[in-house]
């Protein structure tokens, strides 16, 4: 049975950064992922990463923008840490080899981004996430001696001992189908968000909420799950992302009447208001009949000089050409708001600790919370790296002061029996793929930009029915080698657990804040709702609790852009 000081689940930016930090702190480390690390969804973060690194900029300004962007639901102690540590993190990455683009003088260059009061987004063309991910993987290869890479291993459960400590995981080697117990003194969950519970979504097929559900199932509370970000610029047909970098470089939004409608909603920041504001503006235009016939808005990038587009927005030139048949250097591209990010997640403190001893979380899977009700563009990469590193460092420290956990192999045979039972289900019920499609459509209809009681109740009913149907849903693949079908069935369970908590929390928050807009409660209500909603599993049902928002120096104000 493999044993490590620190075991990390998920190998995107948060996971890889945690692995490097823990290894450099002297721990024996394993990093496990259901896909090869460079396939992780961090790739898709195109635009850049925020840091107040310029002498004229300040971390306080970055923090205030983030607090305001969060609609005052972000915890200000965590936001302060993130913004203070951002400059050093950028420099560390630069020293590791990230090919950040430079300005004329050869120093790190920046671009503008939404909700920010200064141009503080550092970038590599429009492949920033990809460049970061591949450079961190270079660093993992460099640390081959201290970091075991478990590529294409699928985690099925987190383990807890009788004292309540998290002691490791059970995982399946996708290539052989073999199930194994991995023991560790500390486990860091860093396996990303749950965009696949929505259809369409900008998220990759692998974003199925595995870590959120696994932690929830062993008793870790989830926080702010109602806060789901809709990105303002996604392709109508398939949900693909057009980076906010486009607007950062100067692109404008127009409705079908040719009106630059952001003037009405955010007269000073215009297209670069917070994402929730821009998405709501677009959705309002569409619903009031000023969108294009296919329910879209026009994003006009032709304003940006062609040389600049080719140098720094090349990926969306490709996406426009390959997936929308549009040459964005010559004509506007049609977009609409699409599901993009979950601000909520596994509740952690600023060290990445969950309330369960030995269990950490970092990245989109976690909720520290630095994003509160709405995440600013280019703050997600920063979140993964700063809190990935902190979780790695702290887990290493925890491991050095802890003995190896006891464990029993008994769980392994139960887990094997459960997986075998999925494979051998008869075809009486529905297909797993059908349930997944129904879930995504329902969530996108009822738990989207605008929400109200009736729709949310309908969504809850659908999710609970799907949970039941999921118990008998069947698959085709009977094999063990690369049985992706059975993994899909397990992922459906993860998504349904996450979806249930999203809907329950959305029903609970009877106000409008950040990305959560209730048409039946259209105002923000600080008196009653300036607090986090925590959801813990009690038996099979979600139990609601509350925790206070940490406010250090910025009192809630009205939010205008």
């Amino acid at each position: 049975m493999p044993t490590h000081d620190v075991l990390i689940i998920g190998a995107g930016l948060a996971g890889q950064r945690a692995a490097i930090a823990a290894a450099d702190a002297g721990s024996s480390v394993a990093i496990m992922s259901k896909v090869h690390p460079v396939r992780s969804h961090s790739n898709s973060a195109a635009g850049g990463i925020n840091a107040a690194l310029n002498p004229e900029d300040s971390w306080e300004s970055h923090a205030l923008d983030t607090v305001k962007g969060s609609d005052y639901l972000g915890d200000q102690d965590a936001i302060e840490i993130m913004c203070r540590e951002a400059p050093d993190e950028i420099l560390t990455l630069e020293h590791m080899g990230v090919t950040f683009h430079r300005n004329e003088s050869g120093h790190l260059g920046t671009r503008a981004f939404g909700g920010a009061s200064a141009a503080r987004t550092y970038y590599v063309a429009d492949i920033t996430g990809q460049a970061l991910l591949h450079v961190l993987y270079e660093q993992l290869l460099k640390r081959e001696e201290t970091v075991d890479r478990l590529e294409e291993w699928f985690t099925t459960s987190l383990l807890r001992d009788d004292d309540g400590r998290c002691t490791g995981v059970i995982a399946r080697d996708i290539r052989s189908g073999r199930l194994e117990v991995f023991t560790a003194k500390a486990v860091i969950v860093a396996s990303g968000g749950v965009g696949q519970a929505y259809r369409p979504t900008t998220n990759a097929l692998i974003c199925t909420g595995d870590g959120i559900a696994q932690a929830y199932r062993i008793g870790a509370p989830l926080m702010d799950m109602e806060m789901i970000q809709y990105h303002p610029t996604t392709l109508a047909e398939n949900g693909f992302l057009i980076t906010e970098g486009a607007r950062g470089e100067g692109a404008h939004l127009y409705n079908a009447e040719g009106e630059r409608f952001m003037e009405k909603y955010a007269p000073s920041k215009m297209e670069l208001a917070s994402r929730d504001v821009v998405s709501r503006a677009e959705q309002t235009e569409i619903e009031e009949g000023r969108g294009f016939p296919d329910g879209t808005i026009a994003l006009d990038i032709t304003k940006v000089p062609k040389k600049r587009i080719l140098e720094s927005l090349r990926e969306i030139v490709n996406i426009g050409r390959d997936f929308a048949g549009t040459d964005i250097t010559r004509e506007p591209i049609h977009i609409r708001p699409g599901q993009h990010y979950v601000m909520g997640g596994v509740k952690t403190d600023v060290q990445g600790r969950t309330p369960i001893e030995g269990l950490y979380a970092a990245g989109e899977v976690a909720c520290v919370s630095v994003h509160g009700g709405n995440r600013l563009g280019a703050n997600s990469l920063l979140d993964t790296l700063v809190f990935g590193r902190r979780a790695g460092e702290h887990a290493a420290q925890h491991a050095s002061a802890t003995g190896l956990p006891e464990h029993s192999e008994a769980r392994l045979s139960d887990e094997q029996a459960w997986i075998d039972s999925i494979v051998s289900r008869d075809r009486g019920g529905r297909r797993v793929s059908e349930l997944k499609a129904e879930l995504g459509t329902a969530m996108n209809e009822h738990v989207a930009v605008f929400r109200h009681q009736d729709g949310l109740e309908q969504a809850l009913e659908i999710v609970r029915r799907l949970q039941e149907e999921g118990e008998s849903a069947w698959i085709d693949d009977q094999g063990t080698i690369f049985n992706q079908d059975v993994l899909g069935a397990i992922e459906l369970g993860y998504m349904l657990d996450c979806a249930e908590t999203i809907v329950v929390a959305s029903l609970e928050r009877k106000e409008s804040r950040g990305a959560h807009f209730r048409t039946d409660f259209p105002e923000r209500n600080d008196d009653e709702w300036l607090k986090h909603i925590d959801i813990s599993r009690n038996g099979a049902t979600p139990e609601i609790g509350y925790s206070p928002v940490t406010i250090t120096q910025w009192q809630p104000e009205e939010r205008t852009y």
Binding site: N43, R314, S433, I481
Partner: protein, 363 residues
């Protein structure tokens, strides 16, 4: 909606059966991707069809496959384009990538080949001494320049279709060499010469590439691995004057010099010139070594004694035209390197855009 037939190469290792073809019909608009077609097959017909996939938008590099015999990303290929390219009657042919062992259906063992080669090129930055207090100050152009190789998503399409790797499995290969350029072109790396010497001296290194362009065709991200290999060669030979034991640099110089003088390749001259000229002591053993090849070529009529003694000649004006190309290139102060992120689109589109600019702004 239109129907498309996907002819998928199946291989289910646990059955003990040999690989076989299976046809599936899907209903999708023609501008949707081949991957979406395969996902529809999985969702409603047969969930056991194996393919790695994740982002659906050509960023994660998971879904490298061969479509109609050529490696590409399934998510980036439109169904109607694939059908148009098909040589089979009305079916889009989908197979696993080449040069790598197949694990199941369309899933190949990337680790055994692709990643092993990536690890071969010391794929991490090797700077000199401790880092500066702030960032390394480097030219903007240098960072834009290496972006082309940073744009590689490690999908393996170039490795799949590399012809050199087909005959020499040990060839470091297009993806790993493009990765090497990412460090050799990065001014922060302090081991440029060591890296270049290593890859030039390796018999399976930069001089093992036969310049066939297959990797450039296959690459879905415009990385143009062969261009990066050629840049490594130029840097090794011209900038660091690495006289490699594979004779790669001398061979390339001899080739260019013959073209410069004659405008056309004189094959009989190429071998001796590559080893320092007819009278050079290095030539004799090399000629002796090459005798079997020469004999085979003679017996098959590939070369004749007459052709060797009296090579083809270009007409004088064509020779002059070739000379002018060399002169134009020699006049440049800096070596002209093609780079997607700097020069923009593929050639055809650059020309189109340039023509448009000449015509003045439209509307």
């Amino acid at each position: 909606m239109p129907e498309f037939t996907l002819k998928i190469r199946r291989f289910l290792p646990e059955t003990g059966d040999a690989p076989y073809w299976e046809d599936f019909t899907v209903d999708l608009e023609g501008h949707r991707s081949v991957l979406e077609g395969i996902l529809q097959v999985r969702d409603v017909q047969d969930g056991s069809v194996g393919i790695r996939c994740s982002c659906r938008a050509a960023i994660c590099g998971s879904c490298g496959v061969r479509i109609n015999g050529r490696a590409t990303l399934a998510c980036k290929t439109h169904l109607n384009d694939a059908l148009e390219d098909s040589q089979e009657d009305g079916a889009i042919v989908i197979e696993p990538m080449g040069n790598m062992p197949v694990i199941k259906d369309l899933i190949v063992d990337m680790d055994a080949v692709h990643w092993t080669k990536i690890r071969r090129v010391t794929p991490w930055l090797l700077p000199d001494g401790p880092p500066p207090e702030r960032e390394y100050v480097v030219p903007h152009e240098a960072m834009v320049d290496v972006t082309q190789s940073m744009a590689c998503i490690q999908c393996g399409a170039c490795v799949s279709d590399c012809l050199s790797m087909e005959v020499d499995a040990d060839f470091v290969g297009p993806a790993a060499l493009a990765k090497a350029y990412r460090f050799v072109g990065d001014p922060r790396d302090a081991q440029h010469e060591e890296r270049l010497r290593d890859l030039a001296e390796d018999p399976h290194g930069i001089h093992d590439c036969t310049h066939c362009f297959a990797c450039i065709d296959a690459c879905p991200k415009g990385v143009a691995p062969m261009d990066q290999i050629m840049r490594l060669r130029r840097m090794a030979g011209s900038d660091y004057e690495i006289d490699d034991r594979n004779n790669g640099h001398r061979h390339e110089s001899a080739f260019t010099e013959i073209i410069r003088k004659k405008g056309i390749l004189d094959e009989a001259k190429l071998l001796p010139d590559s080893y320092g000229g007819k009278l050079h002591p290095r030539v004799v053993p090399e000629l002796v070594d090459s005798l079997p090849v020469i004999v085979t070529a003679l017996t098959r009529g590939k070369i004749t004694p007459k052709a060797a003694l009296m090579p083809h000649r270009l007409p004088r004006d064509s020779q002059e035209a070739v000379k002018r190309i060399f002169e134009t290139i020699d006049e440049r102060d800096e070596r002209y390197e093609l780079n997607l992120y700097i020069t923009g689109f593929e050639d055809e589109e650059v020309e189109k855009a340039a023509a448009e600019e000449e015509r003045g702004p439209h509307e």
